[in-house]
């Protein structure tokens, strides 16, 4: 198996693309072989659909993301107890069913911690504010939102929810927040917009300029519909929450923990725990700047074969090295969901 202890001691973004490929291919291959031996579904997929000769990370077999919605895929004996995580699934009726055992859960939480620590440049902050209500955590601790909240709350000495049970702003805390120095705010991109920024504007509340961090993820889909761009979003965060250290991340519930952080130059970066490939319509690797299907890989999933996934998102590889933010290796941009083309056919359509 992968020697995780060793990897956790490594720097997150210090490998150039050639070193990274060597490192990642070696480790993802180990994980690949593990799932091949322990998950019959993964084995039949690998045997039938993928070539035998594997010399690059991009040669390794992957699942289409929807397989996790329609099947329960496990790489551990059926007798071992697991928790099943569900994606928030706002856009589809089906939820992902992710089987997480203690080991994988620990790896994910350790990895998320390491990635966030890298940005805040500290072990822990004094305070974490979660733009959500406590009910979400209790009711849906196995949802994407619950999982993310769970991960983040270990990053501060204490935490508080900013919304009450009816998703209204807890005004008392907001007034206190002005005096806070060592804190971060975390929430889902669309929830921060809908239930925090918009309500602040409505209530005419402005939090004065501060030194906090804001982390948000979960996708722009809802905001795109109302044409809120990243630029506009950040402008409002800055104006009403007083924060300019704003970090968006990209990640799948299937690969919780090994998230891709959007850097100061607004590009996304894989850490040593993850990798990204962009594929064209013939499934070949795209050239730089060419829009294609995003494939994400992670070293963390052990109890289920979610280490290599073809998503339904589109993106562009900007370059394999040389982002001005200083992080080494590949950096990319997310374009959004693959548009549903006119799907032809006779059935199910009246």
């Amino acid at each position: 198996m992968i020697n995780y202890n060793k990897i956790f001691k490594e720097e997150l973004y210090n490998l150039n693309s050639i070193e990274k490929e060597k490192f990642f291919f070696k480790h993802l291959s180990i994980l690949n072989n593990y799932h091949y031996r322990n998950c019959s579904e993964f084995k039949s997929l690998a045997d039938t659909f993928f070539k035998k000769k594997k010399i690059h990370t991009s040669d390794l077999p992957f699942f289409h993301i929807k397989m996790f919605k329609e099947n329960v895929l496990k790489s551990i004996p059926k007798t071992i107890g697991t928790k099943t995580y569900k994606s928030s699934g706002t856009s589809s009726k089906l939820h992902s069913k992710i089987n997480i055992d203690r080991k994988t859960s620990l790896l994910q939480s350790k990895c998320l911690t390491k990635i966030i620590q890298n940005i805040i440049n500290k072990k822990k902050l004094k305070k974490l504010y979660i733009v959500d209500n406590q009910k979400t955590l209790i009711d849906n601790q196995f949802s994407a939102r619950g999982a993310a909240i769970n991960g983040f709350r270990h990053l501060a000495n204490s935490y508080e929810f900013l919304l009450d049970e009816n998703n209204n702003i807890k005004t008392k805390i907001i007034k206190k927040l002005k005096f806070e120095k060592d804190f971060m705010i975390f929430g889902f991109t669309s929830i921060i917009w809908e239930f925090f920024i918009k309500k602040l504007i409505k209530k005419n509340l402005v939090i004065s300029k501060n030194n906090g961090f804001l982390f948000h993820g979960g996708g722009w889909k809802k905001l795109e519909n109302i044409s809120i761009t990243r630029k506009k979003y950040n402008k409002y965060v800055n104006k009403f929450i007083g924060i300019n250290k704003i970090y968006n991340y990209y990640g799948m519930i299937e690969q919780t923990g090994s998230i891709f952080i959007e850097c100061e130059k607004s590009y996304f970066h894989p850490s040593i725990f993850s990798d990204i490939n962009i594929r064209d319509k013939n499934l070949n690797i795209c050239s730089l700047n060419e829009t294609g299907i995003i494939q994400v890989s992670s070293l963390l999933p052990v109890s289920y074969p979610g280490h290599n996934i073809l998503t339904e998102d589109m993106g562009r590889m900007i370059n394999t090295d040389g982002c001005k933010c200083g992080r080494q290796g590949k950096f990319f941009e997310i374009i959004g969901r693959i548009p549903k083309t006119e799907i032809r056919g006779c059935s199910d359509v009246y």
């Binding site: 997929l45 699942f63 929807k66 799907i343 056919g345 006779c346």
Partner: protein
């Protein structure tokens, strides 16, 4: 015409007033379609849409006169036919409407919910013609409608109908069958089907390169016009006879070369294709070998020791084929179910295939067509004689 709960009653009243059956293949109707055909085939704008041209070609006078020959007796319509058309096959509504008119009925046609340019073009042509004095009376026989998915409206339209043409798959059929109808209302239901290709290896192997090219183009036309998503698009290829791998590979290589020129792929199709292939592999593990040496046409080859697999459940689309070698046509029965609609064949006599299907008591297969004609519309569809079903014969004893 857009229907909502406000104008519904008025429209129903209007339709019921004009709901009068008439003779099948009435001359005025034939002339109406002749005019449509001429306009479609002469207008530059329609050339962009192969399906519109195909309809224009189908409804020309000569073809309709040929169909008419099958119905020498005087028959009359049933009254009001309600056409529920699929939202993703643009011109299905046109054929459905044509059958309704040719069988002597007043027609209520629900247009596809997706806006297609060719649908708009054809509706404009129909409007233009029915505005002419000569065809003005047809305005009372053609009601092209649209409405937002509403069970209430569907229910009210259903109870007023004398016949319903329900396209659009199993779910739609299930829903419409749950609505109350007149006791004598006739339903023609077109459920989810799949189709297969049969290739006679002996005949194929003797073709020269030009003849092979024709076969290739016909195969592509059947499979890729609708991204393999139509009920009549083949999802499996059966090779009959003692096959040699080399020839099979040459066939697929011909197909791939031609497809490459068409360049009809996009990221959405590719993504869905991968999803469906992974789904097939998980639902039927270890039965197939996947040949994906060329991504355009991915082939699922049944392993030799696996027999009797019903291919009904296999997802195919955007160039994914189940490929099976069989010794003779009779063996096809092991792999298909009653859901099999069409056989597109190369190198056989269609009538000979039909005889085998009857003799061997197949439950499926309603059409046997030459390769390249999968989407050829006919007055007999899914085993129904549509004209006879939508009209009445008056018996004299």
């Amino acid at each position: 015409m857009y229907i909502n709960e406000h104008n519904l009653n008025k429209i129903i009243k209007n339709i019921n007033l004009s709901n009068k059956p008439f003779n099948i293949f009435e001359d005025q109707i034939l002339k109406f379609f002749e005019t449509i055909s001429k306009i479609i085939l002469s207008e530059k704008r329609s050339r962009k849409f192969p399906d519109l041209v195909a309809f224009g070609f189908w409804c020309r006078r000569k073809n309709l006169a040929n169909i008419k020959k099958n119905y020498p007796q005087k028959q009359t319509g049933r009254g009001l036919v309600f056409h529920i058309c699929p939202s993703n096959i643009p011109l299905n509504f046109a054929f459905s409407l044509a059958f309704g008119l040719l069988s002597g009925n007043c027609n209520l046609v629900r247009l596809p919910s997706i806006e297609f340019e060719q649908v708009k073009l054809l509706c404009n042509i129909i409007n233009k013609i029915t505005n002419k004095k000569k065809f003005k009376h047809l305005k009372k026989k053609i009601f092209l409608i649209s409405y937002n998915r509403s069970e209430e409206i569907s229910k009210i339209l259903s109870i007023n109908s004398d016949a319903r043409m329900i396209w659009g798959g199993d779910e739609t059929i299930k829903m419409f069958k749950s609505f109350e109808t007149k006791p004598r209302c006739v339903d023609l239901t077109f459920s989810n089907r799949f189709s297969v290709s049969l290739i006679n290896y002996q005949v194929y192997s003797k073709l020269n390169s030009l003849e092979r090219k024709i076969v290739t183009n016909n195969f592509i036309k059947d499979c890729f016009t609708m991204d393999q998503q139509g009920c009549s698009s083949p999802k499996a290829v059966f090779w009959i006879g003692n096959n040699i791998k080399k020839n099979k590979e040459r066939f697929w290589s011909d197909v791939n070369k031609n497809l490459y020129k068409k360049n009809d792929f996009n990221l959405a199709k590719t993504n869905k294709k991968i999803y469906e292939i992974h789904k097939n592999i998980l639902s039927s593990p270890n039965n197939f070998k996947v040949n994906n040496s060329n991504f355009q046409t991915i082939r699922l080859n049944l392993l030799k020791n696996k027999k009797d697999i019903n291919i009904e459940g296999f997802q195919s689309g955007y160039g994914t084929f189940v490929e099976i070698d069989i010794k003779n046509i009779k063996d096809l029965k092991k792999y298909i179910s009653e859901k099999c609609q069409t056989i597109t064949q190369f190198g056989f006599d269609s009538d000979a295939i039909k005889q085998i299907i009857i003799k061997e008591k197949f439950r499926g297969v309603d059409r046997i067509v030459k390769m390249g004609m999968a989407f050829e519309m006919s007055n007999i569809w899914d085993g129904y004689d549509i004209i006879n079903s939508l009209s009445r014969k008056i018996t004299l004893i």
